[in-house]
Symmetry: C2
Subunit: 350 residues, 2 copies
DNA sequence: ATTAGCACTCGATTTTGATGAGTGCTAACA
DNA sequence: TGTTAGCACTCATCAAAATCGAGTGCTAAT
């Protein structure tokens, strides 16, 4: 069966009503709409068809209908197509300049959550494609060396390195030179074992101690590839009865708190994004119910967007809410922040 | 009225039973205990007294009794006094050496939560009494300078400083010298406006640009005085029906997520601790119900402990659970981690 | 001082019935 | 042939009523 115009109209009416109320919607309610000059009986027939086609379902006999995942999917796809039509009110969202990237991201997470009334998360950007800009070792204590590594985008990594024997200033100077000449300008992922051994050989005489320092620096460069995740608004889920149920809430909160799951997911989908086809629609993706990446989120919808601070520095943010979330508003919020991050960061750099 | 031996015994029995079951406990239950050779009627009389004295209360007529806050307080004080008597089973808790302090603390938070089945938090240590060890400015880009500040305990602070005009290498060298000679060895709280202006004067000629760099460094030193808070196990609260109620759960989760409230609290009580009388009992504090620092936690108990990584580097950790939490186990868990942090950190330093 | 016994209370659980929103189907209608 | 009025039926929800039982307080006997 095809989706006739009338069916579409009815389906849309059902979904919209359900988004607002969260209650199953019946034929009578729909028939009373102004531009719907049909009796409830006719609506019922159409609804019956829509149910057969899988767009809506009945929680139980003699209840109204609610959208199925397929129904939401239809609605979301349609809405995304002509999103300009509708304007939902948005608060002003202003991202304040922040000193540290982590502060900025925390702020964004908070903004996302407070503007949408759903739970939000944002990941730090991936940087393994970024180029190394600058390495500096300095002696902090007799047996302790501090390594500071600066990456494109002015991302910092530090590491304290304890050595078995003290290193004299001259050696440190040479090491600095060695590291910078070999590594500067390379992207993080280009730095491999081969390079490390090469450097160790060139360091020559000093053998052991120097070798271990080089290893430690390499570690610092490679480490921390797991993205940081910032979340906010977890308690918003209590606002939606269909999620506030104990076991569901517990699971959702767990996912938000156990950030490593999220972290993996983000890095997976980011790397797919890097290789694969670009996603139009500003990379906004909607996962409805069972489409969602987590088993424990089968009663939620997850809307994700990528952001890009500068070439290759991509991160992900997402909103987690009930299936009947205000997709339009969420998409807009995400887009707004995408843009703000973009411009803000470029300003900061200049 | 005095607490007779028998009353004490009964009270203790009531509390213990309630800690396990979470249900009001009646006279009959108690009378059946092995070493309690009394009829339920006698117990009832005693219970009636205990209620009058405020140690227990009835949720409603014809229900059993539950401990009041005063009852818990009695139990906790008593338990703390002779805690060695009882041995509750504890999992092995091993804190893995971690590269970054933040990783270590996250790990500890997780351990706390998973061992106790309550929610846990830990703050980063306060460092404003720590002495400055080392400052280094380096040029990263034409108009960008990186300041790295190392504090006793090898805590790092960094800041990227954008300048209006480029600074030449020589000036940077001089600035490094200036900063280090003036500030090294001072504790963070000793660095004040006077010192800053003094340095600016000595920098002399270079005026503007140099001045702003010094300001930026001073900022970096002073900033970030708000402690980081790491939480874990928020979803554990759903295991306790008396907290799993929607509105309560929401509030608790909110406090755990809005870390700045916690942060303030921690820094308050730490500074009190620094000035005031030392708390024996390894600084383990129990807040029962309404004694607790947050209005929204009036149905919880909060057990806090301070830890000390090295002289003056103190932080706080705490467990948040229902009033009927297993105080003994919690206290032990906290103490164990206190000790582990202590030894681990000292090893790491050596 | 202790306890057995009993009446009484009151939350929790189950039962029952009424209500009403909503459906599916059928027959009449345009 | 598409639309609709009408009706029997379903079933969640709600409230009132009935039942249950854990627990108490009191009294009188030991």
């Amino acid at each position: 069966m095809e989706l006739s115009d009338r069916k579409t109209k009815i389906l849309e009416a059902i979904i919209k009503n359900y988004l607002e109320t969260g209650e199953p919607v019946g034929s009578r309610t729909i028939s009373k709409y102004e531009d719907m000059n049909l009796s409830s009986a006719t609506i019922r027939n159409e609804m019956s068809d829509l149910e057969e086609m899988g767009y809506i379902l009945q929680p139980h006999t003699s209840a109204g209908r609610i959208p199925s995942d397929k129904g939401y999917r239809f609605y979301v796809d349609r809405m995304m197509a002509d999103r300009e039509k509708e304007v939902s009110d948005m608060h002003e969202m202003v991202v304040q300049k922040a000193d540290q990237l982590s502060e900025l991201l925390k702020q964004v997470a908070k903004l996302l959550a407070s503007n949408t009334n759903y739970a939000a998360m944002i990941s730090s950007p991936q940087i393994h494609r970024n180029k190394l800009k600058f390495i500096q070792l300095s002696k902090v204590e007799e047996n302790t060396i501090l390594a500071v590594i600066v990456v494109e985008g002015n991302i910092l990594k530090n590491k304290m390195i304890s050595t078995d024997q003290p290193l004299d200033d001259d050696t440190i100077l040479k090491l600095n030179l060695l590291l910078n000449t070999h590594l500067n300008g390379l992207s993080l992922e280009e730095i491999n074992l081969g390079l490390i051994t090469l450097m160790k050989e060139q360091a020559g005489i000093h053998s052991d101690v120097v070798g271990s320092v080089i290893d430690a620096v390499a570690d610092a460069i490679k480490a921390d590839e797991n993205l940081e995740i910032y979340t906010s608004g977890a308690n918003n889920i209590f606002k939606y009865p269909e999620l506030a149920d104990n076991s569901k809430a517990s699971e959702i909160i767990n996912v938000l708190e156990e950030k490593n799951q999220l972290s993996e997911l983000v890095s997976d989908s980011l790397s797919k994004l890097n290789e694969g086809e670009e996603n139009e629609e500003h990379g906004i993706q909607v996962y409805i119910g069972s489409e969602s990446p987590f088993e424990s989120m089968k009663d939620c919808s997850v809307v994700t967007a990528t952001y890009e601070l500068e070439e290759g520095m991509r991160g992900m943010m997402s909103i987690i809410g009930p299936k009947r979330m205000d997709y339009l508003k969420v998409a807009k919020t995400l887009k707004t922040l995408q843009e703000q991050l973009d411009t803000l960061y470029k300003k900061k750099q200049e």
